[in-house]
């Protein structure tokens, strides 16, 4: 393994990409979309006193969305595309090792995803003007975003080494990424509604003058979906990982100030059992839980989700690595080496 070789291969990949006009058009379109999103986000968060944090979180989520949407196209044919163009063997026959090639290609794919982040930087900086953004939030959310870019790139490069035809590997990369981003949501929703239980609601009955009767409970039962049994499915969702890992800032009344916190609050609420609802007007200390209470009392899941993603991406990448090794013993079905 050699840093110089890895750099040369990554530069080779990027040079080719940078010379296509389509790439700049794509980045231009992305900038225009971000401009609109930023303006809308300012309008959305203008109610609070810290709109900057909210806008910032929306822009970061947009970058992640773009990476999820575009990266598979750019990384999903990294290896088999070269094999089709007969350029892979030209590299393999040099002193560059399989590791150099794999890491170089991964690096190029990551840099491509990073380009979206680069375009978004002015908007992120602009969102800080609105105020309210915490340095720790900035740091961790960008770090998680970077890790997600690497994961999507590794899935794409990995599948491109395992599947012979570029068209299928790009499609498969989309399916894998979509199963994380959308599939988890679908399983969560369907699973939650499919498993239903009887929940009981407790509240104080009222006397004729409208005062609560404090030594009695009035109960009624109803069916509820059991999202608390399937919430963990969402852990592997990239947007949930991003939101769950980022520290939450609360407004004075205990509600999250940004999109990260709102998603986190939503996911954490799903962990709570819906089976017993109590509404006690006689308890002088009684108040319903705030978002910060919910988040404090539930378990974080981002590291599990990130772990699952890393295992998926890592095993695909490792599989492609062994398939790309030369001298080749087995070739992927339907391929010629050169």
């Amino acid at each position: 393994m050699s840093i110089a070789h890895i750099g040369t291969i990554a530069r080779l990949e990027l040079t080719q990409r940078l010379r296509s006009v389509g790439w700049y058009v794509l980045l231009g379109v992305f900038a225009v979309v971000l401009l609109g999103i930023t303006a809308l986000a300012f309008a959305v968060f203008s109610y609070g006193d810290a709109p900057g944090a909210g806008v910032y979180s929306i822009v970061v989520n947009m970058v992640l969305l773009l990476v999820v949407l575009v990266s598979p196209t750019l990384s999903g044919n990294a290896i088999n595309g070269d094999r089709d163009a007969a350029t892979l063997a030209s590299i393999q026959v040099t002193a560059a090792s399989t590791g150099d090639i794999m890491i170089g290609k991964l690096l190029a794919a990551v840099a491509t995803g990073g380009a979206f982040l680069l375009v978004a930087l002015p908007f992120l900086a602009f969102s800080l003007v609105g105020g309210g953004a915490d340095p720790l939030v900035l740091l961790i959310s960008l770090l998680v975003l970077a890790v997600e870019i690497v994961i999507v790139a590794a899935i794409g490069v990995g599948l491109s080494g395992l599947i012979a035809r570029p068209l299928f590997s790009v499609a498969t990369t989309y399916l894998v990424v979509a199963s994380l981003a959308i599939g988890t949501l679908i399983v969560f929703a369907l699973g939650g509604f499919a498993i239903r239980s009887e929940a009981t609601n407790y509240s104080r009955p009222y006397d004729q003058s409208g005062n609560a009767i404090c030594d009695e409970w009035e109960t009624y039962t109803y069916e509820v979906p059991r999202f608390d049994l399937v919430w963990w499915v969402l852990a592997a969702n990239p947007f949930v990982v991003l939101a769950d890992a980022t520290p939450t800032e609360y407004s004075p009344n205990g509600y999250p100030v940004d999109l990260f916190g709102q998603i986190k609050y939503g996911v954490r609420t799903a962990q709570l059992s819906p089976l017993e609802q109590r509404w006690d007007e006689c308890d002088p200390d009684y108040s319903s839980d705030t978002a910060s209470d919910v988040i404090e009392s539930t378990v974080p899941s981002w590291f599990v989700g990130l772990g699952v993603q890393i295992v998926i991406a890592g095993s695909l990448f490792a599989g492609a690595w062994s398939r790309t090794r030369t001298p080749a013993r087995r070739l992927p079905p339907g391929t010629r080496i050169a």
């Binding site: 110089a4 040079t15 026959v93 040099t94 080749a328």
Partner: protein
């Protein structure tokens, strides 16, 4: 040892046996031709030599290094030119050269010098800054050759290097290959253009259906020679053929014709020489007396039909003058 040594190498793809127990040598300082019909396994064999494909059985030595055991050491010794050059379309010829050189661990400064030198060598200097996608097929071949030479390899594996080249470039390629061989390099070259190959190779290895065939085992068969009398024409063919046949005392039906020249079969060079002597002694105005086929082509065609005897390229049946003029 130096050069290329292949011993009992086999390789199959699924149920297709591409190379069967091939054994061959290519010596340093010599150009060895790898000859065989389409699908004979030439490219598969070259891929194994180029350290890209592992043999199922057998051993390969490139300059004494086994590419299966130490691919990196083998790759530093060998330069490989694939039959289809995969050129990075948006990179210029110069960038292609520099990138490849960098991947062999050559410093940037040396890589730039090497790129300029090699692009001039293959006559691509004027196109050094054109992207590869605008290069013609022949120009891409030249780029592929230059790329194979970038790290000054001792062993060259060239898969169909002449395809797509114009006649001038072919001559240049031939001169270049002779020069590289004279510098002590081992050159293994596969080609379909046997007459071309014949002018550049010292040795030939024949590959048929994945197996190396011993050229010496080809039976000494009748070989066609071309005899041209001064002013030969299609109309005169029958008269010329009759003159030759009567001088040599053979039946005129055994002679053939090709574009006005007479074709006649000889068992070996000695009988050809004595026939020439008799024709000249009989004062026939001979302007051409040469084998109608290159030796390589002759052997190659016999290898293709190993069980057919007597061998077919004996003189074809006499044709009429009008047909021969076609």
């Amino acid at each position: 040892m130096n050069g290329i040594a292949v011993d009992g190498v086999s390789r199959s793809f699924g149920t297709v046996q591409a190379v069967r127990s091939a054994t061959l040598r290519a010596e340093p300082g010599r150009v060895t031709g790898l000859v065989g019909p389409n699908g004979a396994g030439k490219t598969t064999l070259l891929l194994m030599l180029a350290s890209l494909l592992a043999p199922d059985t057998g051993t390969i030595r490139i300059g004494g290094v086994d590419p299966s055991e130490d691919p990196l050491a083998a790759r530093r010794l060998l330069g490989w030119m694939p039959d289809a050059l995969g050129a990075w379309p948006s990179l210029t010829a110069r960038e292609t050269m520099v990138t490849t050189a960098r991947l062999y661990g050559i410093s940037s400064a040396d890589a730039a010098l090497r790129a300029r030198y090699l692009l001039d060598l293959v006559d691509l200097g004027a196109l050094a800054d054109s992207p590869a996608k605008v290069l013609s097929r022949g120009q891409k071949q030249k780029l592929g050759l230059a790329r194979a030479l970038v790290h000054d390899p001792q062993v060259l594996l060239l898969d169909e290097p002449a395809s797509g080249l114009d006649p001038e470039a072919r001559v240049q390629l031939r001169v270049l290959l002779r020069r590289l061989a004279a510098e002590g390099r081992t050159i293994l070259i596969s080609s379909h253009i046997l007459s071309e190959l014949e002018e550049v190779v010292d040795d030939a290895v024949f590959l048929v259906a994945g197996a190396v065939v011993d050229a010496a085992a080809v039976p000494a068969a009748v070989r066609a020679w071309r005899i041209r009398l001064v002013g030969a024409s299609a109309e005169r063919l029958n008269a010329d053929a009759w003159q030759v046949a009567s001088t040599l005392g053979v039946p005129p039906e055994s002679l053939g014709g090709d574009r006005g020249t007479v074709l006649i079969g000889f068992e070996n060079e000695e009988s050809a020489a004595s026939a020439l002597h008799r024709l000249v002694a009989a004062q026939l105005p001979i302007s051409e007396f040469a084998p109608a086929q290159s030796a390589l082509e002759h052997t190659f065609l016999h290898l293709n039909q190993p069980r057919m005897q007597p061998a077919p390229p004996a003189p074809p049946a006499p044709r009429t003058g009008s047909e021969a003029g076609a």
